[in-house]
């Protein structure tokens, strides 16, 4: 057993230092202002949940859950996402309130990282859930709110890619006649983003040539609204047509929301093996190696808490958004008032004035500062009221 060094933290855990805390707080404030402006109410749930309830139904893989035992021996999990706990609340304490429910959250979620030490195992998500609205208007509302929130936070260069799991599944079950094993294998290739494997698997299927071609053409269904036409001509059954119509309707509504320039479509998009049930989406920004935000419609989650309702929502990774915004670290806006024994009283009066006007002010006795010059440089503004400092404003 290696002895731990004093600075070490558990794998994937990070400290939030003041400058980063300020950046996160700013982003959090802007996102929640936008979300509240759209009539969503913020709520919170405990960090710990039962594995049997939230742990079982969450979209996070079991091996990524942090598990622990309570005093009675029950297995608990640190919440791996906010969607499952909110579904639990919607299906219990809130089940008699007026639907559709518009809920929002902001808080840390936990996902264990096994392979690499560098990736965070705890990160903050801001998100929304629209519960009990199964229309395209609901899908559009959530995506438009996501776009508006990111813009409010100051991000302008990003892309939201929208897919529809209903299309892919209906397409496969039509062409492959409900051969579930093959369908799962093909879905797995798409989920793993392995198009080479997908093509090889399709070529090895003993089905008619035209069906193979159709399956291969699925890979080209991405881009702007022009893909509606090709996905419609590839569509062979009612469910596929329905999905294409959903997407068209969604796009029409997104245009009315005025956010269409951020939207791309990709009918191969599979964010998760079996969680989403309709429209789903992922958001990306330049200079971020990884996903910025994601979401979609999940109609099977609430029924697992005995509430028959459809829901849709998004989640934004706050830390990654801060990284994508790439603002300078120099965001310390504190004012420092340096005093000595004589000027203490006056300094305190002055600080009170400033504070009344909303400034962040610190009052510091000069005797406790090792290096007055560099102390002043740390702060946005200082006033030296000591005798040596001339008792004057800087």
């Amino acid at each position: 057993m290696v002895k731990r060094l004093m600075f070490e933290k558990p794998l994937g855990m990070r400290d939030t230092l003041p400058f980063f805390y300020r950046q996160k707080a700013k982003v959090r404030k802007q996102l929640s202002e936008e979300i509240i402006a759209h009539g969503y109410s913020f709520m919170d749930t405990p960090f710990l949940e039962y594995h049997e309830t939230v742990g079982e139904v969450s979209a996070t893989l079991d091996q990524q859950l942090f598990k622990l035992l309570d005093q009675q021996g029950h297995t608990l999990v640190l919440r791996p996402d906010m969607t499952a706990p909110i579904a639990r609340v919607a299906a219990s304490q809130l089940k008699n309130s007026e639907f559709p429910l518009r809920l929002a959250y902001d808080g840390p979620v936990f996902r264990a990282q096994q392979t690499e030490g560098g990736k965070p195992a705890q990160f903050e998500q801001v998100g929304t859930e629209l519960i009990g609205d199964h229309s395209s208007f609901g899908d559009a509302e959530v995506i438009a709110l996501l776009v508006d929130s990111l813009k409010k936070a100051g991000l302008d260069d990003f892309v939201i890619t929208v897919g529809h799991i209903g299309y892919v599944k209906a397409f496969f079950s039509d062409l492959l006649e409900d051969d579930d094993e093959t369908i799962d294998r093909l879905l797995e290739y798409l989920y793993r983003k392995n198009y080479v494997g997908f093509r090889e698997a399709v070529k090895q299927l003993s089905i008619k040539h035209d069906k193979q071609q159709a399956l291969l053409q699925l890979l080209s269904l991405r881009g702007g609204e022009e893909i509606f036409e090709s996905s419609r001509s590839l569509a062979r059954n009612q469910s596929c047509m329905q999905a294409v119509n959903d997407l068209k309707q969604l796009y029409r509504l997104l245009k009315q929301h005025g956010v269409e320039k951020y939207i791309q479509f990709d009918l191969n998009l599979i964010s998760h093996m079996d969680y989403y049930t309709g429209i789903l989406f992922e958001g990306y920004a330049p200079n971020l190696g990884a996903l910025l935000c994601n979401g979609g419609r999940y109609d099977a989650l609430l029924p697992s808490f005995q509430l028959n309702a459809s829901a849709t929502g998004f989640a934004i990774h706050v830390e990654r958004l801060v990284e994508a915004l790439n603002e300078s670290e120099d965001n310390d806006e504190r004012i420092g008032i340096i005093v000595d024994d004589d000027s203490f009283q006056r300094g305190m009066q002055k600080a009170k004035e400033y504070r009344k006007n909303g400034y962040s002010v610190l009052l510091q006795h000069v005797d406790q500062i090792p290096d007055v010059q560099s102390f002043k440089q740390e702060l946005a503004n200082t006033e030296d009221m000591t005798e040596a400092g001339g008792g004057q404003d800087e």
Binding site: T161, K193, N194, V196, Q264, Y284, P286, A290, L291
Partner: protein, 212 residues
């Protein structure tokens, strides 16, 4: 102005073969870069930047977004299981991963030892076979392990089989075919889709042309 593409490529033979493919697809990346010790090569007229990397590291550069595109062996992709798009089989440097060992040597029944530089590929394969094994990780000269009694079997890349033969080893089972793949970072795949799609389409036309 289109976006600049950064491509991570392995040095050596794969680079040459890949550069040849790229040339047929209309991207001139110069043929002989082997002499140079430069790690970053610029091709401003193609709006392309090439990063020279170790084959095992190409996938890492692409996953983290340091490169938009990479050319990586399927062996590395199988071993590392990283979050990248695998968009095209370039069919260059074909070989395969196989299980090999001394002839007529049954595996130890209790805890067979497998020497390999592909611990994940090896343990996944034997798990599928219902065998619980012990992995002995090595970085090179894997063929030594059965000869000196360090391992029952090895799992390694075979291209011609010459190294196996010359060391008196035989191949037992083939695990997977390996070729080089074109991989894409998930974010670049969305944000630079125009440039990347163009390159992928041109390359796949070249590939299809060769198949005929």
């Amino acid at each position: 102005m289109s976006n600049k593409l950064t491509i991570a490529m392995p040095k050596g033979r794969i680079y040459e073969e890949a550069a040849e493919l790229m040339k047929q697809a209309g991207y001139d990346l110069g043929a002989d870069q082997d002499e140079s010790r430069k790690l970053i090569l610029e091709f401003p007229e193609q709006n392309i930047q090439i990063m020279m990397a170790k084959p095992m590291d190409v996938v890492t550069y692409v996953e983290y977004g340091a490169a938009d595109i990479g050319i990586a062996g399927k062996d590395v992709l199988l071993e590392q299981d990283r979050d990248v798009y695998e968009v095209l089989d370039l069919k260059i440097s074909p070989c395969y991963v196989a299980v090999a060992g001394l002839p007529d040597q049954p595996m130890n029944r209790i805890a067979p030892k497998i020497a390999t530089k592909y611990p994940k590929v090896a343990s996944d394969y034997f798990r599928e076979q219902g065998e619980q094994i012990e992995i002995i990780p090595l970085n090179g000269s894997i063929e030594l392990a059965p000869l000196i009694g360090l391992a029952d079997r090895i799992v390694d890349i075979v291209s011609t089989g010459r190294t196996l033969r010359e060391n008196g080893l035989v191949e037992y089972e083939k695990i997977a075919d390996i070729t080089s793949r074109l991989i894409v970072n998930p974010v670049s795949y969305r944000l630079k889709s125009e440039e990347i799609d163009r390159m992928v389409n041109k390359l796949s036309e070249v590939m299809e042309g060769e198949e005929v």
